[in-house]
């Protein structure tokens, strides 16, 4: 299905957020996620994705 990952249209085979993270190279990465502007905790990433979902994947960064 096609979803949007960090603003870029992306084709994934996975049906869940956890599966998509694995597929896109985030396995074991220190990231947090949101789907359609709502936070998805690491413990809830087995929930199914739907075509067109907007996924945000963020990591620790420098800040002021």
């Amino acid at each position: 299905m096609q979803i949007t990952v960090n603003g870029t249209a992306t084709e994934v085979q996975a049906q869940t957020l956890a599966g998509a993270l694995d597929e896109l190279g985030y396995r074991d990465a220190k990231v947090a996620t949101a789907v359609n502007e709502s936070f998805v905790p690491a413990t809830a990433r087995d929930a199914p994705l739907s075509p067109g979902d907007r996924v945000e994947i963020v990591a620790p960064r420098q800040g002021g």
């Binding site: 603003g7 990465a29 947090a32 949101a34 963020v58 620790p60 960064r61 420098q62 800040g63």
Partner: protein, 256 residues
């Protein structure tokens, strides 16, 4: 200094952005002796491990982390960002920024209060980036904030304290609330002035990171913050218009 029940030894809080290199960042933190570091969350590309590298760097700094919601312009964006930050950094502390104006990066007071209330209800310890407005400060306290962080000047300007009257008024209105002057500082003398006004701490980033020698500037700020705090605790003299001799007049040799 107690912030949400946590004792913080240093009254200097330092941002982690814009340094020329990770090594310079680490040295600046060492020289600053800052007790709190601000951090953020940003998009990570698949296969990239920039987040993990930064995480390793800041863990070695041995400071308390204060994640921010920098760049958020809506309540929902700020709340979602706060949740992602809480999970990533494993802390309920959040420097809440809800920006209302693109050029000045001035907080959106209405969104700020709403987001502060939501996050407080969800167990966050909110450090709101606010203005010196006393009414807004009161609303933020009502929303559950136990710390306030009024700006000195707009973020990244280095203009110092642009409304000393407002900051003095805010300090006087809420004498028991820990307050941090956050943003707009460019020089150690400005940080000293904030501390002399009775602010509990200062938070800065650009002034150190963009100095020609960040580590030396960090040391300068550390001393200024300490000097300003000592001056506040020492109860400064009142200024007066007319001169008053400091050397005793009595006993002066009578010479013509």
């Amino acid at each position: 200094m107690l912030l949400y029940g946590t004792a913080i030894a240093s009254r200097l809080m330092l941002g982690t952005a814009q340094y020329p290199s990770p090594a310079v960042l680490a040295e600046a933190f060492r020289r600053s002796a800052a007790g709190i570091a601000t951090v953020s969350v940003r998009r990570e590309a698949g296969g990239d491990r920039a987040g993990a590298a930064f995480w390793d760097l800041i863990r070695d700094l041995d400071v308390t982390l204060l994640p921010n919601t920098a760049g958020c312009h809506s309540v929902r964006e700020a709340v979602t960002t706060a949740h992602m930050a809480r999970e990533l950094f494993d802390t309920p502390w959040i420097k809440l920024e809800v920006i209302g104006h693109a050029d000045t990066l001035q907080p959106d007071p209405f969104g700020l209060v709403e987001a502060a209330r939501i996050l407080t209800d969800e167990g966050f310890k909110v450090f709101p980036y606010t203005t010196e407005d006393v009414v807004l400060a009161d609303r933020l306290l009502q929303a559950g904030c136990e710390v306030l962080m009024p700006w000195g000047a707009p973020i990244g300007t280095g203009l110092g304290l642009t409304n000393i009257y407002g900051l003095r008024t805010l300090r006087a209105q809420f004498p028991d609330v820990p307050m941090v002057v956050d943003a707009g500082l460019g020089l150690p003398s400005q940080a000293a002035m904030a501390m002399e006004l009775g602010y509990d701490a200062v938070l800065l980033n650009t002034a150190v990171a963009k100095a020609g020698d960040p580590a030396t500037m960090a040391a300068g700020f550390a001393r200024a913050v300490e000097a300003g705090r000592l001056a506040y605790e020492a109860d400064p003299m009142e200024p007066r218009d007319m001169a008053a001799p400091s050397t005793p007049v009595i006993g002066r040799a009578f010479l013509t």
